[in-house]
């Protein structure tokens, strides 16, 4: 149904643009030009700094420092990127990228698993304090990480999880938003489905695994994209708990490359690092785009 509708929506404007009287077409044409011009302008404005960063990552240090700033890529691409990836400033960027990837994947997958399970418990089981637990989870929505960062640090430190992946991941893994989202979705799943599964002999976890999970596929994909980027962009928390450069994540590592005091910044390498830092989230968004959009607009019910 949706595929056919989408097709109709895509072909319809093309057809109707040809048919109407000339005046209409002209008006429409001008409107179209304006929209496009507006969009292109917007893209240029947004893209320009990124372009500058890219240019800066391909030239040499003296070229950057000497005004005017070059607008076309230079010839230092390979040197700068190799230097960034394998030696970096404090730690090799390849290493930081890997740390970030572990953290972002850990956070997004962990969040999805935990929130799926807690939403399942809240929607499908009647246990004492069910409402209370739901509201407790919901309440944490009001408290951003920063508010509870000191006690969280205490806990992680006393567990000896400083400078470790578990320390990076676990405190960020509980997610009220995702739990809430899955709860809303599960509540739209007809009760009869759970009953049919029960008559078919499926125990609760089997129902969860065989029926609820496949039905939540698109929601999970959409959440994964959002949460991956959330995890990737974590700054304050990794900054607090990783003191060992080999545990630095890319977003905080980038900040630490900035010169302090009289040091001289290696701007081309820093710029190469920031370009590199952008690549994984972009890949995730592009590769999950189709599922992501489907997850936002419809669900298989």
């Amino acid at each position: 149904m949706t595929a056919r509708d989408a097709l109709a929506a895509e072909t319809a404007p093309v057809n109707s643009a040809r048919i109407p009287a000339e005046g209409m077409v002209e008006k429409r044409g001008i409107g179209l030009w304006f929209t496009h011009a507006g969009l292109i302008l917007g893209v240029i404005v947004i893209f320009f700094p990124i372009w500058l960063a890219f240019v800066a990552s391909t030239v040499s240090q003296p070229e950057i420092v000497r005004p005017p700033m070059p607008l076309l890529p230079g010839d230092q691409f390979l040197e700068n990127y190799t230097k960034a990836l394998f030696s970096g400033v404090n730690a090799p960027v390849a290493w930081m990228l890997f740390n970030s990837l572990v953290m972002a994947l850990g956070i997004s997958l962990g969040k999805i698993v935990i929130s799926l399970l807690s939403a399942f418990a809240i929607v499908y089981f009647r246990f004492p304090g069910r409402k209370l637990f739901f509201w407790l989870i919901f309440l944490t929505l009001m408290l951003p990480v920063e508010v509870r960062i000191v006690p969280t640090y205490e806990v992680i430190a006393s567990f000896g999880m400083l400078n470790s992946y578990s320390g990076l991941i676990f405190p960020l893994i509980a997610s009220a938003t995702a739990t809430f989202l899955f709860r809303q979705f599960f509540m739209t799943v007809p009760d009869e489905l759970a009953e049919a599964a029960r008559v078919d002999g499926a125990r609760p976890m089997r129902f969860f695994w065989d029926i609820l999970l496949p039905m939540s596929r698109t929601n999970m994909a959409a959440l994964f994209v959002i949460l991956f980027i959330y995890g990737w962009n974590q700054y304050l928390w990794p900054l607090l708990i990783t003191t060992d450069p080999s545990m630095n994540t890319i977003v905080m590592g980038l900040k630490q490359m900035f010169p302090s005091g009289d040091d001289i910044a290696d701007w081309p390498v820093i710029m190469a690092t920031s370009i590199l830092a952008m690549i994984p989230p972009v890949i995730v968004v592009i590769s999950m785009q189709k599922l992501f959009i489907r997850g936002l607009v419809d669900s298989e019910k």
């Binding site: 007809p190 009953e195 049919a196 599964a197 008559v199 002999g201 496949p214 298989e300």
Partner: protein
């Protein structure tokens, strides 16, 4: 195949009791239809038998085995839901096979059983499709197929046809009856449609406000309704009820008299038991419905053969019926 016994089944939601002690004995292979108006507790009763709802008090026995505390899967039942409840992400084949897969049935047997059921239900061309690619009638068949492949000892149906259009409903009704005869599986079928109940049932249970008013073969219920409610609910157009004070009753306990439209006859003005006036007539071809108003104000319907002359509206007339067709009810609505 199995027998089913309900012993003084009661169900309370919070403080309100919705089933007030129901007793039923279902014989092996029997097709029982539970019929009643909306909210009378039909679904609740069925769901208790299925094990989807706990029993507040009383006993449910399947093949003389008490199943009150058993999970649905252990009761050896299969259920067809009103909205089909097909798994949307699974193909028709997987929908039908799911229960068997969980029961760890060997793969070859699963394929055999699904193939047999699909053939029986003419679903063979659709086995690879998802439920949303099927029509309502086909979905209904898949839901039936899912029940059949498990070879349960008891079939439970909760208004399985209410989402279909009128024509398809008649067709599926015949198919269900046919299928049940072929398989000989004891069935409990819930509906609020009395035609469905009359045509499908070996015996029917007429429920009214959480009580089984009458249990019996459809024609027996029609001929001999046990209560005023049953007399009014079964039969279309509905039975005419008249207060006994219009006559000189032969028994002081009689408070209401029921006469079915098909048992009353039109007489000329001045004759018959009661004087009336024809308000309007509906000629339906095979039959004609005459809507009358008694001189005392009550309305009354007569159903006569389509070949009989249709009287003009507005004329005065009389109503008569044989004594044997009179249904007498006491104050509480019980048949006398």
């Amino acid at each position: 195949m199995a027998t089913l016994t309900l012993n003084q089944i009661r169900k309370t939601f919070g403080k309100t009791e919705v089933i007030h002690g129901v007793d039923i004995d279902v014989r092996d292979g029997e097709f029982i239809v539970i019929v009643g108006p909306s909210g009378c507790g039909k679904s609740t009763l069925l769901r208790m038998v299925a094990g989807l709802e706990t029993v507040t008090s009383g006993e449910i026995l399947i093949d003389d085995r008490r199943v009150n505390e058993e999970e649905p899967m252990d009761r050896d039942i299969a259920m067809v839901f009103q909205n089909y409840a097909l798994y949307p992400h699974m193909t028709v084949f997987d929908n039908m096979a799911y229960g068997l897969k969980i029961a760890k049935t060997p793969k070859s047997e699963i394929e055999d059983r699904v193939a047999t059921a699909a053939k029986m239900l003419q679903l063979e061309p659709y086995l690879a499709r998802k439920p949303r690619e099927l029509s309502g009638g086909q979905r209904q068949r898949v839901a039936m197929g899912r029940a059949i492949v498990r070879k349960p000892s008891l079939f439970l149906f909760d208004e399985p046809l209410s989402n279909l259009d009128a024509k398809l409903r008649v067709q599926m009704r015949l198919e269900i009856k046919d299928l049940q005869k072929q398989l000989g599986i004891t069935s409990l079928y819930v509906t609020h449609d009395q035609v469905e109940a009359m045509t499908l049932a070996d015996r029917m249970i007429v429920m009214n406000g959480g009580v089984a008013d009458q249990i019996g073969a459809p024609l027996e219920v029609y001929e001999n309704p046990a209560t005023e409610f049953v007399a009014g609910f079964i039969g279309s157009p509905a039975t005419n009820f008249l207060p006994a004070r219009l006559f000189s009753p032969r028994d002081a306990r009689i408070k209401t008299i029921g006469i079915r439209p098909e048992h009353a006859t039109l007489t000329t003005a001045g004759s018959g038991r009661l004087p009336a006036k024809i308000v309007f007539t509906e000629a339906l071809g095979a039959e004609t419905l005459l809507h009358l108003r008694l001189d005392t104000g009550e309305s009354f319907t007569i159903r006569q053969d389509g070949t009989a002359p249709v009287p003009t509206e507005g004329t005065a007339c009389g109503i008569d019926w044989p004594d044997s067709r009179e249904l007498d009810f006491d104050e509480a609505g019980k048949r006398l």
